[in-house]
Amino acid sequence: MDGARHQAGIAAGRISAEEAAQNFADLHPPLDGHEAAVAADRCYFCHDAPCVAACPTGIDIPLFIRQIATGQPRAAAQTIFESNILGGMCARVCPTETLCEEACVRMTAEEKPVEIGRLQRYATDAQMATGRHPFTRAAQTGKRVAVVGAGPAGLACAHRLAMHGHDVVVMDARPKGGGLNEYGIAAYKTTGGFAQAELDWLLQIGGIELRTGTALGREVTLDALEADHDAVFLGIGLGAVNALACEGGDLPGVEDAVDFIARLRQAEDLPTLPVGRRVVVIGGGMTAVDAAVQSRLLGAEEVTIVYRRAKAAMSASLYEQDLAAARGVGLRYNARPVRVIGTGRAEAVEFEYTVDGPDGLTGTGETFRLAADQVLRAIGQALETGPLAGLELDGRKIAVDAEGRTSRAGVWAGGDCTAGGDDLTVTAVAQGRDAAESIHRALMEG
């Protein structure tokens, strides 16, 4: 095994099974009862609490924490799920340091917020451990809604519609539901097959049929969906990736970070997953950080994130950047790729330094090279507009109003595929839920 550890190129077997288990264990391990009691006790039960305003789904955080403090974590879970049916996943993946916990008054007081995310996990785990679904459906309305995309937006929408008594068909192009919960989120944030367990638990509400391997633009069209259903919701996320327009960008060894991550998330046995000895990740968001950190955890010796702008402009939070640094990932700022060098496969990347001035980003002319046998592109995902013919866009995403209505009557959209969001799981949940309420109002008026 040790021979493989330092093998050149992209190779499997750089880590042992024990290392894999250790490296990919929960980033934020669950709180035990005592830890939860101590953490919950710190909440001041603020009035009109800033944490609630900072949560895109508006969970009543002080109430659920008080319910934990008074020994009723399942009552707390009910409070959470009423606002956010994927509260279990959000507890694991939300960048709380820029959401609820950043807003916590104890952040102002002591720079040590109440651990809202972990308390949320404590509560939701308690409910999900019972295996029981906490909601029942209203009387059936006979209305049928098609939901395209089984990611957080689609699932939140489907669940709320089913609760209101509508029948829902959820279609997804991929072989499994869950969207990026299943194929994108870092493995150490959602361990133990949680995404599928949560999906199964969510579907227990009834009234939702999940059809995987069914793509809009392939098996079905928007026109056909509209004809067969009373309403359509699009939660298709961002299926395309931005191209890396530079010389050598198509050499073997260069690929999209999201594909690498999807492969990693689906791997049965992590040590058998090939990874470069030297990995260069190009980009500055959460995807870049996740790809870099997970390459390191798979045993890559040298991993560097190169971002074209300054540190402060990086969309990965400071917490995420520190996490990468702590896992031994190098971070370089203000450099953009010029070309990928190699004969037959990637061997190095040449970068040019940049300055971010009044005329935008400009190159300084000075360059440097980083050896790389694997290059991961994480320069942003984009909307696949092909199957959407006719829908108005806002920039490069679907245009929607505050309720999630698109330019086409009877078609709603939410999540990453729509304009105006911040590309987070929790935002997708909020938009899916709100669109469901809007659809419900529209269907019941008619």
């Binding site: 008080r66 008074t70 009723q72 009552a75 409070t79």
Partner: protein, 437 residues
């Protein structure tokens, strides 16, 4: 889902959580918002007789005792009964009751000890459509100097007399609110029962001085360099209230008399405990004053979930269930022998159990260092099972009390543990023991 609807002396409410007569219930604005937040009922802030309104101090009214992290554990006040005109209160009561017919609305009253005064006000309250009245015989400051409040509540004969007047002059249910500032709560409770009260509610506030300002040597809250005693409430008074409730619930002369529990109720669990000791419902003041009306949501959800978990379909299913288990010391089983057990897996090595036992109890905890870790172990030969270590341990469930099984030997006494009940009444050291048959 458990049914938590309440029916207290015929007064119905969607849940058993009422706001006690105090600032939270002093006006229409508050009470409407409380009902919107989910409270099942209110006892309106105490009304006085017709005439010039009561005046309050214009300086601070409250004193407080904090726990860690400035948590309010006890609150002291020198506020009097409502200082708003009687007609305004009555008009508002009528409007609120009309708009919230499903909620309990009880009016608290305190007027001079003359039958006519009570007769007058009862007639006017009846007109509002209120569900009942609560007689405030409890307020320990200000009003008591004027012969009302606890000045009445401390004299059982007066309680009986006023209660009888109220029953004679009104068809509304009459709840008598008792003061804890008395030696034996059973006497005022018996007096209320004799006077025909439909129920008693307790406790009102405990006479108190919360602190002294060490710069100007005046009690807090300080009004121009002086302070007077006030009434204490909040979590700190809960144990006093629970005991008084239990005393009334198990007194043969008052057993079965409906009780509305008050005093330090802050969570669903506190409420369930009061009801287990016989209360038909509960009233809350300090928790709402500390955290706002929303606390009731935690109380409702927590109580329901606990009832579901335990299989109690409604409040009656567990009301009073703890009453038969309240007994006198002399009947406690002396053959119930336990020892403390410390779980090393949960121990965080703080050493508080050791300090407590070594310095102030029975030197029954051994401390040693093993592989760089502090280990604490109970010495069974010394442990008297006092439970202090459990109480001071910061980790719940780390130290527990384990019962020695019958037939084993208690290493402290060298005696074989028996599973027969044996208490002080038959103990050889008791000079007044009753001979065993």
């Amino acid at each position: 889902m458990a049914d938590i609807r309440g029916n207290f002396v015929g007064i119905k409410s969607p849940n058993p959580f009422w706001l006690a007569s105090a600032p939270p219930t002093d006006k229409e604005y508050n009470v409407r918002r409380a009902f919107e937040a989910g409270w099942g009922g209110v006892v309106w802030k105490t009304l006085g007789a017709e005439g010039p309104p009561i005046v309050n101090v214009n300086g601070p009214r409250y004193g407080v005792v904090y726990g860690a992290d400035r948590r309010v554990l006890g609150l002291n006040n020198i506020e009097l009964i409502t200082d708003r005109p009687l007609e305004v209160n009555l008009r508002e009561i009528k409007a609120v009751k009309r708009d919230y017919p499903d909620r309990a609305l009880v009016v608290s009253l305190m007027v001079p000890c003359e039958e006519q005064a009570w007769k007058d006000i009862l007639a006017r309250v009846e007109e509002t459509g209120a569900d009942g009245v609560e007689l405030n015989f409890g307020c320990p400051h200000g009003m008591s100097e004027r012969g009302m409040g606890s000045a009445v509540g401390q004299v059982p004969d007066y309680i009986e007399m006023v209660t009888r007047w109220c029953k004679a002059n009104s068809r509304m249910p009459v709840i008598v609110k008792l003061t804890p500032n008395i030696t034996d709560i059973r006497y005022p409770a018996r007096a209320a029962a004799k006077g025909g009260a439909d129920a008693v509610s307790l406790i009102n506030t405990v006479s108190s001085i919360t602190s002294v300002d060490l710069d100007n040597f005046s009690p807090e809250p300080t009004i121009d360099g002086k302070g007077s005693h006030g009434g204490y409430c909040g979590p700190a008074v809960k144990p006093i209230a629970l005991n008084m409730v239990a005393e009334i619930a198990r007194d043969p002369e008052t057993a079965g008399l409906p009780i509305s529990g008050i005093g330090g109720i802050t969570t669903w669990r506190d409420a369930a405990e009061f009801m287990a000791l016989g209360c038909g419902n509960v009233q809350v003041c300090t928790a709402a004053m500390t955290y706002g009306f929303k606390v009731v949501q935690e109380m409702i959800s927590g109580l329901k979930l606990w009832m579901d978990d335990k299989g109690h379909p409604d409040l009656g299913a567990f009301r009073g269930r703890a009453v038969p288990n309240v007994t006198d010391w002399q009947y406690l089983n002396l053959n119930y022998v336990t020892k403390a057990r410390i779980d090393p897996g949960k121990c965080i090595e703080c050493g508080r159990c050791f300090a407590a036992c070594e310095d102030t109890s029975h030197q029954a905890i051994a401390m040693r260092v093993e592989a760089g870790q502090r280990r604490f172990e109970v010495i069974d030969e010394e442990c008297v099972a006092c439970n202090l270590c459990v109480d001071v341990c910061p980790v719940e469930g780390c130290i527990t009390m384990e019962r020695l099984s019958a037939g084993s030997i208690d290493p402290r006494t060298g005696q074989v543990v028996s599973d027969d009940h044996a208490d002080w009444t038959t103990h050889p050291n008791n000079p007044g023991r009753v001979a065993a048959e």
